[in-house]
């Protein structure tokens, strides 16, 4: 027969502060895990989630991102004429020439950072399906109007409908805010292509092209066609692949975060070990009594192990609450976390609660509870009844 669970729970409650502290240590490990997983998750979502599988990014051959690429107007015309490209409702090809510029912009704290400004034509909203205007209206050409991503709206004071932003050589009027589904676009300011060309003193051409592959068309064939065209030196890749490559660094971060969490969890395991060993040492009389009453070694082992796991469970619950609250605080009070992207401009990452984080936290809690309780539980089960009662 097994030792009743109430014995374990009561024992925990009797040592109230010890239990709270040990569970607290475990809880903090869980909270940190959730927080960091949220950070990485938000980053991955932004980097990897950005990218429509049906879109292609066309850059100059050798360019690593659209910030360092350059295409002429002629190249854009050539690409527009290729077959295999989707057409919009008006029959025109869904080819969006875009120019990237990274001017300074003042931050709330009075500092200065780079912001990514994307000069576009109206077709861009059709090509980038995930981007939707949620406030205000679409910008008009050559009027110095911009629409801003949600991340920009959070981060800068003038970035609301009707507000004005100063960057580049002039001030611009904000006429709309767009939602990008948590993607990198939300940290961008979109302006009229010719306005940006003017501001950046690049009279013709653009940084890159985004286009939609025609439904049913052979995507790879189109990519090959673009690469093989001798009139231009371009290369195309699927938008998802493009952002995946940028996500490389996020993956390194993930490893680092895991290492950090494992180290922390190890520390908490030592804490649990201390607690459980002390518990066993202090209750030799009880153990002797239980054994004398007829409970088996295994029953004792399981009883102490379950005590340790109960502590871990309590810690897990507390940790999840703390983690979620902390995430909310970072997102709301700090407006997310600013990261420098490969393009050297700043993107805001909102922490993303993820099941991965919670599961990872659970894993850690169980590991700590299990490992921290196993050795002491083993010792408890190995006590000789005679010794145990005698020591009482």
């Amino acid at each position: 027969m097994l030792v009743p669970v109430t014995y374990s729970t009561r024992s925990l409650l009797v040592r109230r502060w010890t239990s709270i502290f040990t569970a607290g240590g475990i809880g903090l490990v869980v909270a940190v895990t959730i927080l960091l997983a949220g950070l990485v998750g938000g980053l991955q979502r932004m980097l990897v989630g950005t990218g429509d599988p049906d879109n292609l990014v066309v850059l100059r051959k050798g360019a690593t991102n659209d910030g360092s690429s350059f295409l002429t107007r002629e190249a854009v015309q050539i690409v527009r004429a290729l077959s295999g490209i989707a057409t919009g409702a008006d029959g025109r090809p869904l080819v969006s020439p875009e120019i990237i510029n990274q001017p300074f912009i003042r931050t709330r704290e009075g500092g200065r950072e780079n912001v990514l400004v994307r000069g576009i034509e109206p077709v861009a909203f059709q090509v980038h399906r995930d981007v939707r205007l949620v406030e205000g209206r679409m910008l008009q050409p050559k009027l110095g109007e911009v629409v801003v991503g949600k991340g920009v709206a959070l981060r800068h004071d003038g970035a609301h409908v009707g507000g004005r932003l100063s960057f580049g050589r002039r001030t611009w009027t904000v006429v709309g805010v767009f939602d990008g589904g948590g993607t990198a676009f939300e940290s961008e300011i979109w302006a009229d292509l010719s306005d940006v060309q003017d501001d950046a003193r690049r009279p013709s051409g653009c940084s890159g092209i985004r286009l939609r592959v025609a439904p049913g068309a052979d995507r790879q064939a189109l990519i090959d066609r673009i690469a093989a065209d001798a009139r231009v030196t371009l290369e195309a890749k699927p938008e998802t692949v493009y952002y995946e490559e940028q996500a490389d660094a996020a993956n390194s971060l993930y490893v680092l975060v895991l290492v950090l969490a494992v180290i922390m969890a190890t520390g908490a395991t030592f804490g649990a070990l201390n607690t459980m060993y002390a518990a066993v040492a202090g209750r030799t009389a009880e153990i002797g009594t239980l054994r004398a009453l007829g409970f088996s070694r295994t029953a004792i082992l399981l009883s102490f192990l379950s005590e340790s796991l109960l502590l871990a469970a309590g810690g897990f619950v507390g940790g999840v609450v703390l983690g979620v609250v902390a995430m909310w605080a970072v997102n709301t009070l700090l407006q997310g976390v600013a990261f420098s992207m490969m393009t050297f401009s700043v993107a805001t990452v909102l922490l993303q609660p993820s099941t991965t984080g919670v599961l990872l936290g659970l894993l850690f809690a169980v590991a700590i509870g299990g490992l921290g309780g196993l050795a002491p539980a083993w010792r408890a089960s190995r006590l000789r009844v005679v010794d145990a009662l005698h020591r009482a």
Binding site: F167, R201, A249, L260, M264, Y277, A338, M342
Partner: protein, 395 residues
């Protein structure tokens, strides 16, 4: 037999428990040191590579806006200007985009005047001036890729449609200068840029930014004002700022990330305080009879409090020393191996592992505080124990 010995003996009472607690603290302080090294890396960069007589002049709108090359000579003519140089960002990649490091086309003739504090070998500087495709490379970047002086390397152009091959002629020491950068001749880039499909320009009469060495620190403010006034209302307005201000602005975008990491560090410390406090409390609880005996012998609250508190603080100190030392040597090994964890693009200069002795000291200090905070309540309660109650509990 002294109080000190009593403290030590008490810690060795439960060797396993002391070991576990010490390791817990060590691991946490290891993490804390790692976390603290980020802002200190920032501070180190600001302190090391910054001079109080150097200023940068860049386009007022942003770093991606270019300045006309003619500006360089115009700036040279401003009174108070001792030397000028210019940087144009090339953005070349050696192997993978994630291992990107800053590389610039510069003026090879005034390097010695502009950056005397970098302490670059004069022979290397001479060769740099003489050879058209010469390159000076920062020590950290050299280690990372395993380059040697005299080696030929090729950088794949991203912002510019050319690949450039360089001969490495010298190293910029990490101790005194910018450890990551690569410098080459601006003219080499210019000559390589010929009109071609996809690049309609001929030549490249632009520079990214102008560096200025001012003759005396007192003149810096005035020189900056004069330069900006010179180009006010022209095609490209300039914003001159001190080197320190430039780097600080550059770093300000990392603040958010650092804040989150510091928050994590705080949670790590909180966790270890809980663990250590638990151990302390357990230890004191078990020793109530002994404390009663000590009190009956005439030991007063203060010595008992001191002994108990010293125990937990000593434990914190030992754990902290192990953790800080571990972090320090691990980071040094990683830095020597040139590893940056591939976080270069994401964290920029913070991605390199650098831990200063000051950070180790901070870690130790935090460990002592942990020892104090975790021990104070149990120690206080233990010292305040009522002898009679305790004795009565025994018999």
């Amino acid at each position: 037999m002294t109080y000190g010995r009593l403290v030590l003996r008490n810690l060795s009472r439960h060797p396993l428990r002391s070991l576990f607690t010490t390791l817990s603290i060590a691991l946490s302080i290891f993490l804390v040191c790692a976390v603290l090294s980020l802002p200190s890396a920032l501070a180190a960069i600001l302190d090391k590579a910054v001079s109080n007589t150097r200023i940068t002049v860049h386009h007022e709108a942003g770093l991606t806006y270019l300045l006309p090359a003619s500006y360089v000579n115009k700036v040279r003519g401003v009174p108070g200007v001792a030397a000028v140089n210019h940087f144009t960002w090339f953005g070349g990649i050696y192997d993978e985009p994630k291992n990107m490091f800053p590389n610039f086309g510069i003026d090879p003739d005034t390097v010695a005047d502009m950056w005397p504090d970098y302490k670059i070998d004069p022979a290397a500087l001479r060769r740099f001036r003489a050879v058209r495709n010469a390159a000076l490379v920062g020590e950290q970047t050299m280690r990372k890729f395993g380059w040697k002086v005299g080696q030929m390397i090729t950088l794949r152009g991203t912002a510019f449609p050319v690949n450039l091959t360089f001969e490495i002629v010298g190293m910029i020491p990490a101790a005194s200068g910018n450890p990551v950068v690569l410098w080459f001749h601006h003219k080499y880039l210019e000559e390589s840029l010929q009109p071609r499909p996809g690049w309609p320009f001929s030549g490249f009469p632009f520079v990214g930014m102008v560096w200025v060495q001012v003759d005396r620190p007192e003149h810096v403010e005035r020189v900056m004002r004069d330069i900006d006034a010179l180009f006010h209302n022209s095609e490209a307005e300039t914003a001159a700022e001190t080197e320190k201000s430039f780097f600080q602005n550059f770093m300000s975008s990392y603040q958010g990330f650092i804040r989150v990491i510091l928050g994590v560090g705080f949670l790590v410390v909180a966790a270890v305080v809980l663990i250590a406090a638990n151990t302390s409390a357990m230890g004191v609880r078990e020793r109530i009879p002994e404390i009663a005996v000590l009190k009956s012998l005439g030991f007063r609250r203060r010595p008992i409090l001191t002994v108990l508190l010293c125990e937990s603080m000593l434990q914190g100190l030992v754990g902290g020393a192990v953790g800080a030392a571990g972090a320090f040597f691990l980071f040094r090994a990683l830095a020597a191996a040139g590893k940056t964890g591939g976080l270069g693009p994401l964290l920029g200069p913070l991605g390199s592992f650098y831990m200063s002795p000051a950070t180790a000291m901070q870690g130790l200090a935090i460990a002592l505080v942990v020892g104090f905070v975790s021990g104070i309540v149990p120690a206080w309660n233990g010292a305040r124990l009522n002898v009679i109650d305790a004795l009565r509990r025994l018999f």
